[in-house]
């Protein structure tokens, strides 16, 4: 009997995990990645080589690796602009993720908190929210917990169970972390002391960054080029070094510069093959598929589904419900900063070493919530410790109102927005709305000639009020650090000044999973209701955005969905297949 052929679209967090499971289960696996490969030795049993990543801010500003909005623009408009008939109000980088081998995990800083129990049941625990489309997930935390465990075991997570607040463990029960936490950042420790005075429990952020040698990769040397940069020493776990490598060693094939343009379907609606532009977009090819794993990230997966219309799917692949592209979520970003009298060297370390999670708990007894007519206000994880790098700092002063460019060098010498900064960023739950969506721009194209993804997005008032609620409290902590000045930048300000959506790269929700085919695109194992051999394995599945960094949950979902695909639903309900016999 011939082996089943799985085509995996995207080599990021979801695709790499799925490819590994399927390759181990005996599938013939082809991974199609539109970007280039900057890792070395991924397929070498002898071990990884040093990658081509490095601490180069100019290169990052030029779109390295694989994040070039000039070549692959997106467009954006608000809900109000859409109602007024505007095609778009911005063209450029709209919350893009790196298009490269390893996907978003080439620019992440490895923050891997688990979602809370409540994240799987926001609708049933806290009720509906007017103007939003809050839904429960089709399974519970308990169903995903063994997959979290398995992903963490391979990814390598550094954390401090003893210091983790009780409410976090109650909402996301877990065993010990595979590694102890890495060195704490001075800025984060200073914030931690101030937060403790006000009753908040700041603790080591669970991170997929080696604090000790792990999985054949070295301990992190704390170079400071973490968020926004590929790890130059492979100390940071991620899609490529942790899962794609295992997939390749298990026999999967990786094709780079392979831009999928369509998932083709037969008369019965099932996927038959994918069409792509290979070798830098110069040659059209097709790859036959028994199953297609769609893992291009929330915006790109929705775009590809919409590009994949056919007789069986006249409105786009899997779009009988009209839900493809809808309930698009970004995490809402709130910045708070303490400008200290002395130097904090926040550039040393892993971009953020600590987290505050109290804002992940919905506040139901708030006057602000009552004023806004909301049942609750929910923030999200607060990442603590990082700062911009030098060119970004230089640009930042230019963006502050009333700072004169003529004093640019005085600002740089004083370095209030870098070396004297305790920076924190809250990434908060973004409530799903049907009007927030991805569709195809009618005019703007990418370098491949395909219609650009158009993002229609406006925050729900919940995001703006939750941001205000926590901005006040974060500013109070910043003041308590002994700061010369405490600054806050709530979501409303960010949205007013930033043409993109919410200033984060956390994207979810466009191919929502659920039990009702009329209100969701995929079932609880990621299979499209209308095309069951298309299995989605990325953040587009999220029914709600959660209040934590999404990547660990994307990986756990991909592991669960791929396990169901390879071994059946019953096996997947029992948990992941044993991982002890893995090639290293």
């Amino acid at each position: 009997m011939s082996r089943r052929h799985a085509v995996v679209i995207g080599s990021g967090a979801g695709g790499s995990v799925a490819a590994w499971v399927l390759a181990r289960a005996g599938f013939e696996v082809t991974i199609l990645e539109k970007g280039k490969n900057y890792f070395r030795g991924l397929e070498d049993p002898a071990g990884l080589g040093l990658p081509l990543f490095g601490g180069d801010e100019i290169r990052r500003r030029r779109g390295f690796p694989g994040l070039d909005a000039f070549a692959e623009p997106r467009t954006r408009r608000s809900q109000r602009e859409a109602e007024a008939g505007a095609a778009r109000s911005f063209t450029g980088d709209v919350n893009q993720l790196p298009g490269t081998v390893g996907g978003g995990t080439t620019h992440w800083d490895g923050k891997v908190p688990r979602f809370f129990k409540m994240d799987f049941a926001m609708r049933s625990r806290f009720g509906p929210v007017e103007g939003a489309d809050v839904a429960d997930w089709p399974f519970s935390y308990e169903a995903l917990a063994p997959y979290y465990d398995a992903v963490e075991e391979i990814l390598g997570v550094a954390g401090d169970l003893a210091a983790t607040p009780g409410f976090v463990l109650e909402e996301s029960p877990r065993g010990p972390y595979p590694m102890p936490p890495g060195p704490p950042m001075y800025a984060a420790l200073t914030f931690q002391k101030a937060a403790a005075q006000l009753g908040y429990r700041v603790h080591a952020f669970p991170e997929a960054i080696n604090s000790v040698p792990f999985d054949g990769r070295p301990a992190c040397h704390n170079c400071g080029y973490c968020a926004g940069y590929g790890c130059p020493v492979n100390a940071r776990g991620g899609a490529a070094v942790s899962f794609l490598r295992r997939a390749l060693l298990a026999g999967a094939r990786l094709a780079t510069r392979a831009m999928v343009t369509k998932i083709a379907t037969g008369a019965n609606g099932r996927a038959t093959h994918v069409e792509l532009l290979a070798t830098s977009g110069l040659r059209r090819e097709r790859v036959e598929a028994d199953v297609v794993v769609l893992a291009a990230s929330a915006v790109e997966s929705a775009r590809l589904a919409l590009l994949s219309d056919s007789a069986a799917h006249p409105h786009g692949l899997g779009n009988r419900s009209g839900r493809v592209g809808r309930t698009l979520c970004f995490h809402a970003s709130t910045f708070a900063s303490a400008v200290m009298p002395g130097r904090m060297h926040p550039h040393r370390g892993r971009s953020a070493s600590h987290v505050m999670m109290e804002p992940c708990l919905p506040v139901t007894d708030s006057r602000l919530a009552r004023f806004a007519g909301l049942p609750y206000l929910r923030g999200g994880v607060v990442e603590i410790g990082g700062s911009p790098q030098l060119i970004d700092e230089a640009l930042a002063y230019d963006q502050v109102p009333f700072l004169r460019r003529a004093r640019h060098k005085d600002w740089m010498r004083g370095s209030s927005l870098r070396d004297r900064l305790i920076g924190c960023q809250m990434l908060a739950e973004d409530l799903p709305q049907l009007a927030n969506r991805v569709d195809l721009d009618p005019e703007v194209r990418d370098v491949y000639g395909l219609p650009a993804a158009r993002v229609t997005y406006s925050p729900h008032r919940h995001e703006l009020f939750a941001s205000l609620h926590w901005a006040r409290r974060l500013r109070a902590i910043c003041r308590a650090t002994g700061a010369e000045r405490a600054l806050v930048y709530p979501a409303a300000l960010g949205l007013a000044s930033d043409p993109t959506a919410n200033n984060t790269r956390h994207v979810s929700g466009t191919l929502r999973m659920g039990d009702d085919p009329a209100a969701s695109v995929c079932d609880g194992f990621g299979r499209m209701h209308d095309a069951e051999n298309v299995v989605v394995c990325d953040g587009s599945l999220f029914p709600t955005s959660g209040a934590m960094n999404p990547t660990l949950t994307i990986m756990a979902l991909a592991l669960r969905n791929a396990t169901a695909l390879a071994h059946g639903e019953d096996a997947a309900r029992r948990g992941p297949q044993p991982t002890s016999s893995l090639p290293s």
Binding site: P51, S280, G349, G449
Partner: protein, 246 residues
């Protein structure tokens, strides 16, 4: 906001200059000299008069001595950085993406950054479009015609000089600071979009990695106390978690 023109700041800068003198960076200097135009000469792409105007523009945006005690964009060679970007495709390997992973700036190995990465066909198409413009070629017009950075700099710098001559009867490079400010901010003639494009590139050429032709001798990293890439050397737990000794 603290103004750093203090005794401690002055001493720190003196120490930095001493450090700079103590560690001549032969390999880096060789690389930078290979790409940087001599003062007043034509660049890789720009003519000599346009290079002078660009150099004056950069120096105005991020001033150095005598207007400011620390090296500025002129001393960093920001104009040479921009000129090299505009002329990137005159090089066998266009200096668009530096290599990796390590610069080895603190010694111990070769500078990987100096070995620029080869562009593939798609990247070359994208970067040629961005720099040279679409020039009527269908393969560069995925979103219609593009005016490239080369044309924008030529037009912008010519407008700079034309405006300076119109209002002050001298080229931009020979104007006093207030006159340059007037040309850039108050008087008509110079497109604001050009000044903003040049400002962003000036910051990159002043504060970015020196392998791209700017930030000569890493002087900008010294007065800003920015370590830059210093890999594979990194930090100890104490250096991360504790304040630096005064």
């Amino acid at each position: 906001m603290r103004n750093s023109l203090t005794r401690r700041g002055f001493l720190a800068r003196t120490r930095d200059l001493a450090l700079l003198a103590a560690f001549p960076e032969a390999a880096l200097a060789k690389h930078v000299h290979a790409v940087a135009a001599a003062p007043g000469a034509a660049g890789v792409f720009l003519s000599a008069p346009r290079m002078r105007a660009l150099d004056a523009l950069c120096a105005h945006l991020v001033p150095g001595p005598p207007e400011d005690p620390d090296p500025g964009a002129r001393e960093a060679g920001a104009a040479a950085y921009i000129d090299l970007l505009l002329g990137a495709f005159t090089r066998p390997v266009p200096p668009i993406f530096a290599g990796g992973p390590f610069s080895h700036r603190e010694g111990g190995g070769p500078n990987h950054f100096a070995e620029f990465l080869r562009l593939d066909a798609l990247e070359e198409r994208v970067w040629r479009t961005r720099i040279e413009g679409s020039q009527g070629r269908p393969e560069r017009e995925w979103n219609g015609p593009v005016v490239g950075w080369q044309a924008r700099y030529v037009e912008g710098l010519d407008a700079l000089d034309a405006s300076a001559r119109r209002w002050f009867r001298r080229p931009f490079a020979e104007l006093a600071r207030w006159q340059r400010e007037a040309v850039l901010a108050w008087l008509p003639g110079v497109p604001r979009e050009f000044v903003e494009l040049a400002f962003g590139h000036t910051l990159e050429g002043t504060y970015g990695a020196p392998e791209y032709g700017g930030n000569r001798a890493r002087a900008s990293w010294r007065w800003t106390r920015w370590p830059g890439d210093h890999q594979p050397h990194a930090y100890t737990r104490e250096q991360i978690a504790e304040p630096d000794p005064e």
